[in-house]
């Protein structure tokens, strides 16, 4: 492999990661987490009018390919007169995706908090909302870090699908250079290495967060 090609293409690819892949993943994950908590709570609600839409949403998100969801939003919605730019389309698709998968993770984490914690919160007089925010969710957060890290790492790699709707990001930069130089193997391996590097950093961050949250647990 030609080292100078590798080095010359590293700039654009890294730029694609910094301006495309990373912010796309971060923004979608942040929105997606909020959505996931809302959907998880709706899914656990005593009211079926909340439970059913939540179940349906989770089922659709998990049961259809992310690429198809992305195409429906970017290429499909214009038929209804709703034309979105590539970036917002990608953010919406990835947010919905994290929301669907994350909801089940968060639901499981909430269910893992012992019943006695709910009872103690009731005993001291906390309402449902305070019980969730002050007692249950902080404990559920600890349990959900490993599976949510998985979701985030998957999301980072899935953002490569945004290249299919012409979002400028890591993989799209690699594709452009590969098409121009015909060095497909070199460029795609290089792209893979950069994804891998990002995920290594994320794994390290995950370990640190886990250690922090495990501090006070016997």
């Amino acid at each position: 492999m030609d080292l100078s090609l590798f080095l010359d293409s590293l700039g654009p690819i890294a730029l694609g990661a910094i301006t495309g892949t990373i912010p796309l993943a971060l923004v979608s994950f942040a929105f997606g987490l909020v959505l996931a908590v809302v959907v998880a709570l709706a899914r656990m609600s005593p009211s079926r009018w909340l439970r059913w839409p939540a179940r349906a949403f989770i089922s659709v998100i998990r049961g259809t390919p992310l690429l198809v969801q992305l195409f429906v939003i970017f290429y499909g919605l214009p038929n209804l007169g709703w034309t979105l730019d590539a970036w917002p389309s990608a953010v919406i698709a990835f947010t919905l995706n994290v929301g669907g998968y994350g909801a089940e993770t968060i639901r499981a984490a909430i269910l893992s908090v012992p019943r006695g914690q709910w009872e103690a919160a009731f005993m001291i007089g906390l309402g449902r909302r305070q019980t969730l925010t002050r007692v249950i969710l902080p404990q559920a957060a600890r349990v959900s870090v490993p599976p949510l890290s998985n979701t985030f790492i998957s999301l980072v790699k899935d953002t490569s699908l945004a290249s299919m709707i012409m979002v400028t990001e890591l993989f799209r930069e690699a594709q452009k250079i590969a098409a121009f130089t015909q060095e497909f193997l070199a460029l795609y391996i290089e792209a893979a290495l950069v994804y891998w590097l990002i995920c290594l950093v994320l794994s390290a961050a995950q370990s640190r967060i886990e250690t922090r949250l495990e501090r006070h647990v016997a």
Binding site: P114, G116, Q117, E119, A120, F122, M123, I124, G125, L126, Q130, R134, V135, P138, Q139, R142, R215, H216, V217, A218
Partner: protein, 256 residues
């Protein structure tokens, strides 16, 4: 002994079923202000459920309950409001302490006073430290529950209940998940509270504590109170066979 006559708690015909089996089958009972009542009975007799009804954790299917100035009726009070009303007059010490693991000892104690009762943090902390001092845990205010022994955790559980300023203290087998050598420190704190005049309802298998500290005993079997007597009378001469057999089993220990 002072004359204890003002009723703090009154139950009339309290019933509760889980599925087809009645767990409480018409319980009527009064507890005077400052009285220490110990609930005895085999497992499944309904004593813990009775305590949980008083704490507002379970809602009965029938019956009336009055705790000081609060009165609820299973037939007419909306369950949510009723449970909240009972909860506001009682505080529970749980078998498994149920402390919040992500909060310090101090954080556990002030959570109710600050987040619910809207007292100032400084005020709540001052009282919490004073109460922790009293149970010998003044030095551990900044520790996390996992760093404490079982007996210390349970004493924090008691302080958390006291900080709520309840009218009635409820204890659900507070020593049964403790190692034997840690039971004493918890029972000592409970005896001190009894001597201070707290109204207490205690589910326990510690007969020594019941004999020494309780004013009266209610013996439950099959969801009803089969015997309710002053503690001295109950232990000297239980009137029912079931109570006699229960005491013989508990007192006698292991008889192959």
């Amino acid at each position: 002994m002072s004359l204890k006559t003002t009723p703090a708690v009154r139950l009339e015909g309290v019933r509760l079923s889980f599925g087809p089996t009645p767990v409480l089958d018409g319980v009527s009972l009064t507890v005077a202000e400052g009285e220490v009542l110990v609930l005895l009975g085999a497992s499944g007799s309904g004593k813990t459920t009775l305590l949980r009804v008083l704490a507002g954790l379970e809602w009965p299917s029938a019956g009336r309950i009055r705790i000081e100035d609060v009165e609820v009726d299973a037939a007419t009070t909306p369950p949510r409001r009723g449970r909240d009303a009972l909860r506001s007059r009682t505080a529970m010490v749980f078998q498994q302490h149920n402390l919040f693991p992500h909060r310090t000892v101090l954080g556990n104690v002030i959570e109710g006073p600050v987040s619910v009762q809207r007292r100032s943090r400084a005020d709540a902390e001052q009282e919490a430290r004073r109460l922790l001092d009293r149970v010998g845990l003044g030095e551990r205010a900044d520790a996390y529950p996992a760093e404490l022994s079982g007996g210390q955790q349970q004493r924090v559980g008691i302080v958390r209940a006291l900080a709520l300023h309840p009218r009635v203290l409820l204890f659900d087998e507070p020593t049964s998940s403790l190692d034997p050598e840690l039971v004493g420190e918890v029972l000592t704190v409970m005896s001190e509270l009894a001597a201070e005049g707290w109204t207490m309802i205690v589910v326990t298998h510690e007969l020594g504590f019941a004999r020494a500290v309780a004013d009266s005993i209610a013996f439950l079997d099959g969801g009803t109170i089969v015997e309710h007597a002053p503690s001295a009378d109950f232990f000297a001469a239980p009137r029912t066979d079931r109570a006699r057999r229960f005491l013989a089993r508990l007192d006698g220990g292991f008889h192959p």
